[in-house]
């Protein structure tokens, strides 16, 4: 599985300006709605599910990264988007630090294996310091799309 299999390029937000966790999640879900990746009537419920998941425990997994995610019956395939918050956003992360890089993932409830592989794929790239560093430096959506392509092709490996 590659990032390009589930990250919606046009939904990527290269310079998301938000003040709080819920704002970040709302903006990313709205971006997926704009690209037609989720149905407009499901937007609110998807945000609700994502926030319920955050209440269970923050998906801010440390090192400035968060991966908010949920399973939702309205999607047939994994869909995801990426957002960068230049100034960082408070996310109640595991390490207490702000979040700069967000991957938001929505997967069909009956596809646990795909969900795990999506998380595995994202986490594999997030282990690469170069990938995280370049993501934070990206200025445009095109920069990020190019970076994801390079990551898929293992061009960023040390």
């Amino acid at each position: 599985m590659k990032l390009s299999d589930f990250v919606v390029p046009d939904a990527i937000l290269a310079d998301m300006k938000v003040a709080a966790k819920e704002d970040a999640i709302r903006a990313m879900v709205a971006s997926l709605k704009t690209t037609g990746s989720i149905r407009p009537e499901e937007e609110e419920n998807i945000v609700k599910k994502l926030m319920e998941r955050e209440e269970l425990g923050s998906t801010g997994i440390g090192n400035g990264v968060a991966v908010p995610h949920t399973k939702h019956p309205s999607v047939d395939d994994l869909v995801a988007t990426v957002a960068i918050v230049k100034d960082g956003v408070e996310f109640k992360s595991l390490d207490g630090g702000p979040v700069y890089i967000l991957f938001l993932l929505i997967s069909p409830p009956d596809r646990s294996g795909d969900h795990l592989r999506g998380l595995e794929n994202i986490s594999r790239h997030l282990r690469n310091q170069k990938f995280c560093s370049f993501l934070r430096q990206a200025r445009t959506r095109e920069d990020i799309i190019e970076l994801l392509r390079e990551a898929d092709n293992n061009e960023l490996d040390d």
């Binding site: 269970l56 425990g57 923050s58 998906t59 997994i61 440390g62 090192n63 990264v65 991966v67 995610h69 595991l94 646990s112 294996g113 969900h115 795990l116 592989r117 998380l119 595995e120 994202i122 986490s123 594999r124 997030l126 282990r127």
Partner: protein
């Protein structure tokens, strides 16, 4: 439920567990393990085949993509290793259910 055993080295504690979560070892259980062990002075590793993950790091553990039915080995060494292994095993025993902690 689980027997903690000392194998190979007197300082390394190991136990094999089977992932019984329907969704596999997804982010929530990985976060619970990391929260539990990140302040402990000992080393904690999860091993799946040839892949080894630092249990203090969620991103590392997600890299295992351990589905339901997968056999994992938990390994601890250093100060407080035996108790830490017991504590991690407890999370698997209760299937990471916050209501059973």
């Amino acid at each position: 439920m689980f027997t903690v055993s000392v194998m190979n080295s007197p300082e390394i504690f190991r136990q094999t567990v089977v992932v019984t979560l329907d969704s596999g070892l997804h982010m929530y259980p990985c976060s619970r393990i990391a929260q539990l062990v990140r302040e402990r002075p000992c080393q904690v590793r999860l091993t799946l085949g040839k892949r080894v993950a630092d249990a203090k790091n969620v991103v590392h553990m997600l890299g295992l993509a351990a589905e339901k039915g997968t056999e994992l080995t938990i390994e601890t060494d250093g100060e407080g290793a035996e108790q830490t292994l017991r504590d991690v095993l407890h999370l698997f025993e209760i299937n990471f259910d916050p209501n059973r902690e």
